[in-house]
Amino acid sequence: MSSPAFLSLEKLTLAYGDTVAVKDLDLSIRQGELVAFLGPSGCGKTTTMRSIAGLLKPQSGRISLDGADITRVAANKRSVGLVFQSYALFPHLTVFENVAFGLRLKGLSGTELESRVDAGLKSVGLTSFAARKPAELSGGQQQRVALARSMVMEPKVLLLDEPLSNLDARLRLEMRAELQRVQKETGVTMIFVTHDQGEALSLADRIVVMLNGAIEQIGTPEDIYNRPASAFVADFVGFENIFAIENGRLRAGNGPIALAMPLPHDAAGLAWRPRMVTLGSGPFQGTVRGAAFSGSTREYLLDTPLGALKAEVDAAAPAHSAGTTLAFDLPVEKAAKLERFN
């Protein structure tokens, strides 16, 4: 890590009763970074986020923020903001009072309070909605109120729980831009939790992929997308043809198979996206079981000696119907080399 850690988790173990949700997690995040916690439900990403917020006491381990150990610091004294998935706006208060809530607790009042709240509402484009109640706003507007409510507190870290998942496609794009802008303008360190790889890839500086309460891989979106470290990550980011390497050969449904090119020694498995499969030439034969035209491409499902295989080619290429036998190749140089096979 080039610059010192701003937020660091050391050997963090989190549990609900006897159920361990996160085990011995180590992670450090730089100031101003935009980090995504990515993983399927139950992987521990939300649990980890809640422990950073102070809503869940760790069973063991340490959390430090901006040079101070905050493991035992109460949630209301941490300077950590959280935008809830459901937004959690206070239904009895107006938009203005929602945003003013934390500032009032800080002892602000009068014109200072007003100008801070106004600035917060202005930054999310909701100035004219100040007098409304949350129930009178759309989901996207409610989320922006929640964002403003957290941001006016000038938190050291802003946490966001599934920030885009409740929005429709157009709003999602808008909110994504909004979050990037807020992050750029304020330089706040942001962590968001998501189960959507597209969301993580498009928004984050760095992605932490989690599985079963542990970190599976940390990397830039390019790293994660192009060089998945494990079969799980590969599957998560759209590599649909994933094979383990056993004794120098690919393990397939009908037993091990040798590819034309020698396999790398340092890999536990290889993975190909459907696009990486060469169709029409190569040492292997497969039978088309299904074909789908999706506008710009054609997808094929092949029955092969390696088992079922997914291939994708340009729609300009001639179509093959079900039952056709096709030659294909799995080019080793294109494959993602997996460090771990799980």
């Binding site: 917020a53 809503l55 949630a75 959690a88 206070f90 009895h92 934390g102 607790l105 800080k106 507190m153």
Partner: protein, 259 residues
């Protein structure tokens, strides 16, 4: 003969059965005669006026009001935190506690009254007013817990966490964001409890002493001695009071959502 006639007739009969006595009482209370009678003999408001002159009615009305307001208030002071704990935490024996809290509704009032008299008031020379207060608190508690729980369950719990992350303490979050949002539920519980306590007979029957009795019990003993229409007049006045309260509650709170 159409098939819709039968249910309509049944509906009409049931409604008449439920509301009929009320009209009889109202009619009897404006009677000009000397005894409780229906149909009324002549028309007069003298019995309505007499209600306000009977001293024991004034005293027992004050007692009933005190019990209804104090008992319901106490039930809410106990019931709001209890409802909060039951709806927010996964408590051991949570379901059992819920059932126990509901018991005063299920156990016949006669039994509660007799038990309090026989095992609390008599052996310990327990103050009857205090016993009445405790009994009414216990009787109203199930309604308080049920109604307040209903509004708590409709309220997302993450708003409390949001308040905490904005700098509030846990207790502060309860008063700043939970209480304001269950206010109408609390008011509904108060009204329901008030009416329940005010109209309560069986328990109060056992817990009366010299000069200490609730209004319904006082009416009962008044009738044993004096058979004039003033009891009907008082009943009608009380019924109008209850109807008024429930009407206002329905109008401003949507009372029927909670009951």
């Amino acid at each position: 003969m159409n098939s819709r006639l039968f249910p309509v007739v049944v509906l009409f009969l049931v409604t008449a059965f439920l509301i009929g006595p009320f009209f009889i009482i109202v009619a009897a209370s404006v009677s000009g005669g000397e005894t409780l009678a229906f149909p009324p003999q002549g028309l007069s408001l003298k019995w309505v006026a007499k209600v306000f002159q009977v001293e024991s009615f004034r005293e027992s009305f004050a007692m009933s009001m005190l019990l209804a307001i104090g008992g319901t208030g106490a039930a809410l002071v106990l019931g709001i935190p209890a409802s909060y704990a039951l709806s927010r935490y996964r408590l051991p024996f949570g379901e059992t506690i819920r059932t126990v809290v509901a018991l005063p509704i299920i156990v016949p009032g006669i039994i509660v009254g007799l038990a309090l008299l026989r095992y609390l008031v008599v052996p310990f020379r327990f103050n009857i007013t205090l016993a009445l207060f405790l009994a009414h608190t216990a009787l109203v508690l199930p309604y308080a817990v049920r109604v307040v729980s209903a509004s708590l369950n409709n309220l997302r719990s993450d708003i409390e966490e949001a308040a905490v992350l904005l700098g509030s303490s846990r207790a502060g979050a309860f008063f700043r964001v939970v209480m304001p949002n269950i206010r109408s539920g609390i008011l509904a519980a108060f009204i329901l409890g008030f009416v329940t306590s005010f109209n309560q007979v069986p328990v109060s029957l056992f817990l009366s002493g010299p000069g200490i009795r609730t209004l319904p019990i006082d009416m009962l003993s008044y009738m044993e001695i004096t058979y004039d229409p003033s009891v009907a007049a008082l009943s009608a006045l009380l019924a109008f009071m209850s109807i008024g309260i429930v009407f206002i509650a329905e109008r401003f709170l949507g009372f029927s959502r909670y009951v």
